[in-house]
């Protein structure tokens, strides 16, 4: 430890025990918190992905809604010169491709990025401390706990929601979306050879449309809860939230060890 510092390191005090037991906080994280009261969690590629992904999903939901429920007919020009619905679908497919490439990039970053870049993909279900923190967080949201705990990365409940709605949810939307895309691209083509097998899995194309459509609503529900929880926790928890997804740095509002 270097000579001059505005904080005492307090090496004898055990800090963030819960987060350590769930596998969330690493030794370096704890060291950073002791020295600076803040810790760098989400690296630039993760943050970049978060916002690109959020934007792509917003576009996908908007245009997806219109694909299922087209806007009122417009008479701007001859059909040959008018491409309104075509552009809506194009925006959907373009955003879909961005989502897909982004997600692949995010998977890559889980391998090369820091410890917290992996949280989105691995739920430590074998860790009983993790489970008890899930229930603790649940009680916090049910107003049964007076005070939340500190976590470095995602709290276990949020992590579970992100795993099911995002990791699995986005995978599902990408696979079904690209299967739908392969129909338009044509049988025997590149997309068909990669994703065409998905269609008979759901019976037929119409059923695949329905399930892809329902998937959108699952993601909308996640969005509502996610944005609410991010803002609420930013206000009510003992640590930073929204700014963490912007700067990457988690700061804590108090200096209590747990």
């Amino acid at each position: 430890m270097s000579e001059k510092s505005i904080h005492e390191a307090n090496p004898d005090v055990e800090i963030l025990k819960a987060a350590t037991l769930t596998g969330d906080a690493t030794a370096e994280d704890l060291d950073s918190i002791r020295r600076r009261t803040s810790v760098y969690v989400y690296e630039t590629p993760v943050r970049l992905w978060h916002w690109i992904n959020a934007l792509a999903i917003l576009v996908l939901c908007g245009t997806g809604w219109f694909i299922g429920n087209p806007p009122p007919s417009m008479q701007i020009a001859e059909a040959t010169h008018q491409f309104v619905f075509g552009y809506i679908r194009f925006a959907h497919f373009a955003a879909g491709m961005i989502l897909t490439v982004g997600f692949l990039g995010r998977i890559y970053w889980a391998f090369v990025g820091n410890h917290h870049a992996k949280q989105l993909f691995i739920l430590p279900v074998w860790n009983k401390h993790w489970w008890s923190e899930v229930f603790f967080e649940l009680r916090w949201y049910l107003f049964l706990e007076k005070e939340p705990k500190k976590y470095v990365g995602h709290n276990p409940l949020a992590q579970a929601a992100m795993f099911f709605f995002m990791t699995l949810g986005i995978t599902f939307m990408i696979v079904t979306g690209l299967a739908l895309y392969s129909e338009g691209a044509g049988q025997g083509g590149f997309w068909d050879s990669l994703f065409g097998w998905v269609i008979p899995l759901f019976g037929n194309s119409q059923a695949l449309h329905s399930i892809h459509h329902l998937g959108m609503w699952a993601i909308v529900i996640f969005m509502i809860i996610h944005i609410y929880a991010a803002i609420r926790e930013d206000i009510m928890s003992r640590q930073s939230m929204v700014s963490t997804m912007i700067s990457g740095t988690r700061t804590f509002k108090d200096d209590r060890p747990e």
Binding site: S73, M74, F83, G203, A207, H213, I221, R232
Partner: protein
């Protein structure tokens, strides 16, 4: 099998001239999407090959497939194909009836063991040991299994044989079952549609008879040459779809202008069939051309996917009038209300906490 006539012999016997025969070969090549180089090959095959016998059996059905088949656009094609398959056994079209007909079936099976094609129209109901469909005093499922045992290949005509169709609609009281779930050890070609297009049917049979092999099939076992594109891919109203110009209500101005039927529940975007290219009734028209959306009659389960007039499929498990959007909006509404309530309680709680802590300070 030297005593069996060739296709060409059969045609000549029927009074078809060589010139007409060559015309038929070109037509067939065109219908199958083959190059003109195939015309002599088809002709040669038909001149030298003994014709392949076909047994055509009927289960639970409405016979619309047969009705379609005998209306094949080109009269010559129809005559030729009909004489080619020569109705070794088809209880609807053959002259014989009763015991004589059953004897004919048995004869054909014995004589051409392993060489005949079994064409199935309709499907077997399996409940009550198959009692819901009796042919010649026995459950149809028995006849089907018996005839399939020595068949070279099986053709499933129409939505009934391929997928089950309306007699298999929920709750399917007779347990009507598509052919491929009963016959599992033979190559099966599905030719779905309710009914399939006549030219598609004759095309598939002609291909199998001339080339002596199955046509290329897609993932769902349908001949790729007719079922590899959606109605929507070749629909002449597609420019209106891309433009966003839709029929909004039956009989509105847009309907008169021939706009896209997407909003009226057209299933063209999700249906694989050749209607928008081959069309019906000698190429006169097809449903969309006459102003009605595609109902998806060649797709598995089309009879159970709710109204033909909705774009987004009904989800009856969530109530009669429900669909993905209604279910989703309702769920999102509940979650949204929950979030609002949660936010309100959170605000109250923290206000309470603040007053408490300020009291404590006092």
């Amino acid at each position: 099998m030297s005593q069996i006539e060739t296709f060409y012999d059969v045609m000549r016997r029927q009074g078809i001239t060589r010139r007409s025969f060559m015309k038929y070969c070109s037509l067939t090549a065109a219908a199958l999407g083959l190059s003109p180089a195939y015309v002599p090959k088809i002709a040669h095959a038909m001149e030298t090959k003994p014709r392949t016998p076909v047994i055509w059996v009927h289960g639970l059905e409405c016979t619309c497939c047969s009705e379609s088949f005998i209306r094949s656009a080109h009269p010559l094609a129809k005559d030729v194909v009909l004489s080619m398959i020569s109705l070794d056994y088809d209880d609807t079209l053959m002259a014989a009836a009763g015991h004589q007909a059953e004897a004919a079936l048995q004869d054909t099976i014995e004589k051409y063991k392993g060489n005949y094609i079994l064409a199935v129209e309709g499907n077997p109901p399996l409940n009550e040991d198959g009692m819901f469909c009796i042919v010649g005093g026995k459950p149809f499922v028995e006849q089907l299994k018996h005839a399939a045992e020595h068949a070279k290949a099986v053709i499933s005509w129409g939505a009934c044989a391929s997928y089950g169709c309306v007699q298999a609609a929920k709750p399917n009281p007779t347990r009507a079952t598509p052919v491929h779930k009963v016959i599992t050890d033979k190559p099966i070609i599905k030719v779905p549609g309710c009914p399939p297009i006549a030219e598609v049917m004759t095309g598939v049979i002609t291909y199998m008879l001339t080339f002596d092999r199955l046509p290329e099939l897609d993932r769902q076992g349908r001949p790729a040459m007719f079922y590899s594109q959606r109605i929507h891919d070749k629909c002449y109203r597609r420019p209106h779809f891309d433009a966003g110009q839709f029929v909004e209500a039956w009989d509105d101005e847009n309907a008169r202008k021939g706009y896209c039927l997407y909003k009226m529940g057209c299933k063209g975007p999700t249906t694989y069939n050749a209607c928008s290219t081959v069309r019906w009734n000698e190429g006169v028209s097809f449903p969309i051309q006459s102003g009605h959306g595609c109902i998806g009659c060649s797709e598995d389960g089309f009879w159970d996917h709710g109204s033909f007039y909705n774009r987004v499929t009904d989800l009856t498990q969530f109530g009669v009038e429900s669909n993905a959007d209604k279910v989703g909006l309702a769920a999102a509404g509940v979650v949204g209300a929950g979030v609002a309530a949660h936010a309100a309680i959170s605000a109250l709680k923290s206000a309470q906490k603040k007053t408490q802590s300020s009291k404590e300070e006092v």
